[in-house]
Amino acid sequence: MTLHPLKLVTIICEAVLEEIVVNLLRECGAHGHTAFAVRGSGNQGERTADIMEAGNVQIEVIVKPAVAEAALERLQREVFPSYAMIAYESEVRVLRPEKF
């Protein structure tokens, strides 16, 4: 079995941003994404997620290193200044690199 190194980009942000972030990822070259509703707290206060609009969403996508870098760079420039969010990348290894 051969595993291929790729990057997992994770974004945790306000639920209202989901469409904007997903569009941005697509524009940078991502082929898909996974999103799920989450709750938690951060330096902009607790997000109780009691009503969907006030909750957080976690968006994950596996991409090539260059795409990860471009996406994180655009997120930092276009979305970070105005919203409560974090984003990070990590190393992952996948079976079918052509999918990503």
């Binding site: 306000e14 997620a49 009691d50």
Partner: protein, 326 residues
């Protein structure tokens, strides 16, 4: 019935008592929590039920009777931000974005406040125009559009429809789930008429009170969790959260009486004008005015204005409507 009896009978209705229980659960940090999906489900149920009922009423009354008060309602919604914005800027010292955001919330409406008001009218056997849910449908969007334009600096000539956040917000304001569901189901109700109502009555009418009580329990918790934020928003917003609904509500009652609505109908228009949105407006404002602090608008709408309206506002606007009726 005098004003105090009206207040008392309102406070002792199941819906309001469930709301109080919800606030208590949140404040006492109880582990009571609704699954998120239930909140969304109950919202859809309530909007569908009042939309259908409103549609059937439009079918009965005829669109010729409905259009004038509906137009007045939409105009009032769009105009409210025009004076709340300068008040928030000058007296409240809020930034352009914050003032625009709060103005959008207060011009837009709260469906649950409206439903609580119809509930009150039913409990005291006061008839009202059942097509009033059409007012709810047309009052949600105009204020969001006007508030966002003001918050973007429209007065300084800085507004542009090309802004991605603005476009996204405007689409949500006009085609968001609340408006789409209400107007869509209303059209269905209007097409089906009384016979259609007979077939869905068992689901949309009979269990309505129970569903509303359950929903208000959850609303109590949502509002209660934000009580802690009252300290952060300052005295001005506290005062604004109570005077704005009284002022706008009275204006709504006046307008309702003027366009020929009954006591019940004028009171409902007042309740709508006095209410503040906490679903459609927050999402739209967050996207289009990211620099506005959502704590201000959401705390004011949810923790001050909503509880005020469903407890004191509703009987107050009823009393006013009764006195103004020729």
């Amino acid at each position: 019935m005098d004003f105090l009896t009206a207040v008392q009978s309102n406070l002792l209705s199941p819906a309001i008592l469930f709301f109080v229980l919800g606030v208590f659960a949140a404040v006492s940090k109880s582990d009571l929590k609704f699954p998120e999906a239930l909140y969304a489900t109950l919202t859809i149920y309530l909007l569908t039920a009042i939309g259908f009922k409103g549609g059937v009423a439009i079918n009965e009354a005829g669109i010729g009777v409905v259009w004038l008060p509906a137009l007045a309602a939409a105009a009032l919604g769009g105009l409210i931000p025009l004076w709340t914005y300068p008040v928030l800027r000058k007296l409240g010292k809020f930034s352009v974005a914050d003032a625009g955001g709060i103005a959008a919330h207060y011009g837009s409406v709260s469906a649950v406040t409206f439903i609580a008001a119809t509930n009150f009218l039913k409990s005291i056997n006061q008839p009202y125009e059942s097509y009033a849910s059409a007012f709810l449908a047309v009052m949600e969007s105009p204020a969001i559009v006007v508030g966002v334009m003001l918050g973007k600096g429209a007065l300084g000539g800085k507004f542009s429809f090309a802004d991605a956040g603005v476009r996204h917000a405007l689409r949500d304001a006009v085609l968001g789930k609340g408006v789409l569901l209400l107007i869509g189901v209303m059209i269905i109700g209007a097409l089906c008429g009384k016979r259609g109502m007979a077939s869905v009555e068992g689901f949309f009418v009979t269990p309505f009170q129970g569903v509303l009580a359950l929903f208000l329990l959850e609303m109590g918790m949502v509002a209660g969790r934000r009580l802690g934020d009252l300290k952060k928003v300052g005295g001005f917003l506290l005062l604004f959260g109570i005077t704005a609904p009284i002022l706008h509500g009275s204006l709504g009652v006046l307008l309702g009486t003027w366009v020929g609505l009954s006591v019940g109908g004028s009171m409902l228009l007042g309740v709508l004008a006095g209410s503040a949105s906490y679903i459609a407006a927050p999402a739209a404002v967050r996207l289009s005015l990211p620099e506005a602090n959502p704590t201000y608008s959401l705390t004011a709408a949810l923790a001050i204005t909503f509880p005020f309206n469903i407890t004191v506002g509703v009987p107050l606007f009823y009393e006013l409507a009764k006195r103004l009726q020729p």
